[in-house]
Amino acid sequence: MRGLVHLAGAHARHHRWRSLLLTFCLTVAFLLPATTRQLMVRYERDLSARAEATPLVAGTRGNRFDLTLGALYFRQSALEPVHMGLLEEIQESGRGVAVPLHTGHLAREATLVGTSLEYYEQRGLRTTAGSLPMMIGDALVGSAVAARLGLEPGDALSSDPTNLYDINQPGATRLSVCGVLAPTATPDDDAVFVDVKTAWMVSGLVHGHGDVTSPGALEEDMILSRSEDSVSVSPALIEHDQVSEENLWDFHLHASPEELPLTAILYFPADDKDKTILKAEFNRSAVHQMVVPRKVVDELLNYAFKIKRLLDGVALVLLLSTLVFGGLVLSLTARLRKEEFDMLHAIGCSRSATWKLVALELAGIVTLAAAGAAAGLVLLITLAPDLVRVF
């Protein structure tokens, strides 16, 4: 058999372009289904794990995919926000832990997520440096953001201004990096976490400025009107763009705290009973909805699986056409090698050995193609992580 292997290898090497072409075609035919399968396995694993770890998500009634993807993966959502009052209602029910979530702003192109300390506890997040955000203006950066921007505790990070050309819109807010999260291979790695009040500050709903009530504190032309209990000032008044120990108490809000917006509320019930009751109460509402992320993600995965089946079909056609092409090449080769095989038979080689010779060459090419596909898959995962990353 070693002699036949040597002969098959020598023949394949001698006709290297034909062998390489066949190997390449088979590699592509193997790589395509292997990649889609690998992607699906990863998508399913990552999406399911995140969804599984979030029992319920509450938000405004509307597209459940928008709500789930916004709450779990911080995707931009077109849904109207819910209000802080709703969170307080859930918290007062005592049926578990409700975590506020405010997204929609960016800091150096990373999603700025306003939340509470319970978020880190429920997600099992821990810091590799610094501490959790304890004060308004503190920012806890995800591991990928920290690596990308080279941030450490004590550094400053600015939020991206919503509109550079409109002075009525809030400008950039300087945040103080208080800590860096450990990597989790979830969307948390790519986010910057702040207290929800900081998120409202970035939105301009909470702001801070110097004293405007004391006589002489401002130039008169900055004061638009003054009454006994309020002072209206010009928009030209420069607000604090950073929270410090000196100006902390200057920050305030001009609306009812209950009306402050949230993108969604993550809900971690104490038990199944609480989960069922709260979900039932919510889904009676015409304004709000509560979804089970696992079910929504499963629906999404079903769509993905349909696409995978289509791609599998394409891959199967590709594989079959490659096999037909390979078969054609081999049958033509066998025909071209008839004289060679007749000579081998005449000197004492069996007919089965000549077929073994062809089969060994084919097996070598298939093995090489399979190894190439495996290497291609590893390279794809290593060099193009964004392709196989869900988040």
Partner: protein, 226 residues
């Protein structure tokens, strides 16, 4: 079969499956160490005769004995094992494998058959045959890089590497000019004599016949009905 006979055949009948070519060999004998030429016109069945006598084709009836074994009683596997040990073949146009180097071409019988053991002795024999035929410096070359004469020597080494008692050559000089034909035949005779091999050459080149111990007319050896 006499004690000195290497190959003998009696009352052998063979027909191709289509039945359009039926061969009958009443009697055929090759003594050990003989140098025999077999002449016949193209298409007269020379290759059929060689394949019958070496067991490539199986006779329908009759008896063929090769080197003490009754070929007609053996199955395909046993005939093949006997053939690779007993017969060295030199083909028309040499039939070298263009994807193997010269050394591998010489060792080809060992590479394609499990009946032979590719050991150090075989390699040494290939090396000394290459030296004897003057191609020892070409062992790592491919046949495409060789001249006609060099290719012929490689074919000869391949036929002799197993030290077969019988060497069959089918039109070995068919593609060579007169000068090269003489050189090739000198080499064939010399190497066979050195190894004590019996030589049967099928040819239609009458100029060569004087050099053989015996000359057979194909038509006298084998009757063909078409």
């Amino acid at each position: 079969m006499t004690d000195t006979a290497l190959l003998s055949a009696e009352a052998v009948r063979f027909a191709y499956p289509e039945g359009r070519f039926v061969a009958h060999v009443p009697r055929f004998l090759l003594e050990r160490g003989e140098r025999v030429a077999c002449v016949g016109s193209s298409g007269a069945g020379k290759t059929t005769l060689l394949h019958l006598m070496t067991g490539v084709l199986r006779a329908e009836s009759g008896r063929i004995e090769l080197n003490g074994a009754t070929l007609t009683d053996l199955d395909e596997e046993a005939r093949r094992a006997l053939r690779i040990r007993t017969v060295g073949m030199v083909f028309q146009q040499f039939a070298l494998l263009d994807y193997l180097c010269v050394l591998d071409n010489i060792l080809l019988p060992y590479l394609v058959s499990e009946a032979l053991d590719l050991n150090a002795d075989a390699r040494e024999r290939a090396q000394s045959l290459a030296e004897a035929t003057g191609i020892e410096t070409l062992l790592d070359r491919k046949p495409g890089q060789l001249s006609q004469g060099e290719r012929q020597r490689v074919a000869l080494c391949r036929a002799l590497v197993t030290e077969p008692p019988l060497v069959l050559a089918d039109e070995p000089t068919g593609n060579l000019d007169a000068t090269r034909t003489d050189a090739a035949m000198d080499l064939l005779f010399e190497v066979c004599a050195r190894h004590g091999s019996t030589l049967l050459v099928v040819t239609h080149d009458t100029r060569l016949l004087e050099r053989f111990d015996r000359v057979l007319q194909l038509e006298e050896c084998m009757e063909v009905t078409r």
